[in-house]
Symmetry: C2
Subunit: 316 residues, 2 copies
Amino acid sequence: MYYIGIDIGGTNLKAGLVDEGYQIAATKKMPLKFESMEQMGRTLAEMAVALVEENGISRDQVASVGMGFPGPVDDKNGVVIKTVNIPIRSMPVAEMFHKHWDLPVHLGNDADCAALGEFYHYEDKNIESLILVTLGTGIGTGIILNGKIHTGINGCAGEGGHIVIVHNGEQCTCGRRGCWERYASANALIRQTMAAMDAHPESAMWGLVGGAINRVDGKTAFEAMRKGDAAARAVVNQYLKYLGEGLSNFVNIFQPEVIALGGGVSHERDEDLLVPLQGMVFEQSFGREADRHTKLVKAKLGNDAGIIGAALLGLQ
Amino acid sequence: MYYIGIDIGGTNLKAGLVDEGYQIAATKKMPLKFESMEQMGRTLAEMAVALVEENGISRDQVASVGMGFPGPVDDKNGVVIKTVNIPIRSMPVAEMFHKHWDLPVHLGNDADCAALGEFYHYEDKNIESLILVTLGTGIGTGIILNGKIHTGINGCAGEGGHIVIVHNGEQCTCGRRGCWERYASANALIRQTMAAMDAHPESAMWGLVGGAINRVDGKTAFEAMRKGDAAARAVVNQYLKYLGEGLSNFVNIFQPEVIALGGGVSHERDEDLLVPLQGMVFEQSFGREADRHTKLVKAKLGNDAGIIGAALLGLQ
């Protein structure tokens, strides 16, 4: 049997045929053209049909379709509550899909789907809990407990980026002040790097970006640090402190088996990122005297996590 | 059938016979005299036997015994990992109990047991998630998800008091800086009240404690505020801000159906505590546009929560 997963993003729709070994057997991608919810529902169904037909799979070889949306969903009733950057509100996507194909439809939030993908692909198949923390524009988190996504009563749980860690801190887009993602997302690292460069005209970071501050990215400070630049080292140390503080908050609440870090920043060398973070999290954990501890790892699936996780909603 | 619950505290052992309606039918209390783990195990068994005999209950009317310890436990193997204020380390309490009575033994952390008690006593029996936040010397939290205690991989989860909300803030006993309980426990409120009194010799708070600052308690600022005292109002407002911030962190992570507040502070009038907190939590929730929201309530069971929850571990 196969499971279809569709990852609905702000700019693209990506669909994949996932096999029983949780691997992607085929994919299909198209730009998102949103005209109406009706058209969107039809497009999703047509995309699923095309995916099987183009790959010579018969419909009855497909067990279910799962879709990951950038927003809260009501999986039980097959409704997408709302999405960020796409004007979807209370869209009965399961019903719309069923006009074209009577296949079980499962809905998930995109960050939750990505976490589910990482969970099923984790090397130890006996784990029951994993939290995926994705460092990007903001911080996305997906929480898997007892092998299931924790969605909360309204599909809005797992917003780990919006935990205040700095009382009266920076204004966040969510309305709160001092949210973790204001300090520990990839974008926050970029802002912190730029501020340090402004304060340190002598920093080697300027050379790395050819003197153009708009070319700063999440790697700039890490790279300059490895060249021995003191200002860059201070940026990285402070960033790791913010990141480790939020990760430790998660550990003290959940004591999960695994926390996986995703996003571009997670590709930094282990000795510069995972190793110091693992030490900080251990030091700050309330369970440091216990015999089992949360393992901090790099997420494995990259951009495929969303498709795979959406498809595997069918196994939930 | 009955369920026996034993609440192991730093100074007392409290046992209760709990019926199928989750009510306490009889209790027994004794001071804790810790000599050795062997003696402690025997005392717990003897206490359970005495509880049934003194109340004319036959042993086979008892389904199980549950015990709540102040520390992490390994329920699966019947072992108490360690306790705060009692020198218990890796104590095989189930095995010890079985030398005297072959009754199923369940172990829990005391804060988790209290949360379970509140969960089973909540007016709406259809809820699946409840978080109990107890404001005392520190902040204790117990997390019930899908009707079960969330213990984490090592029994140490649910340490919600040890979430950093003030980066580089006050030193906490756990080793971290800026933990929520340093700002929002009952003890924190007392410290904040004392500091405001030092700064405001004109405050009506002085009159309430007869000029003796060591008589300040968690009610002082609330009472003076109701008399119109400005310094007291500032203390309460800031305290509620800290408290609401941590509660909102929990909402954004879990979106639980219910958060119950326990401890002495929770008895303040609703308009001074629950109503403003509910507003703050709603404002700061990532799911404020959703149709279901976390309900903030006062915990109901008081000191009995530990006994009832320990007994009801047998229903888990």
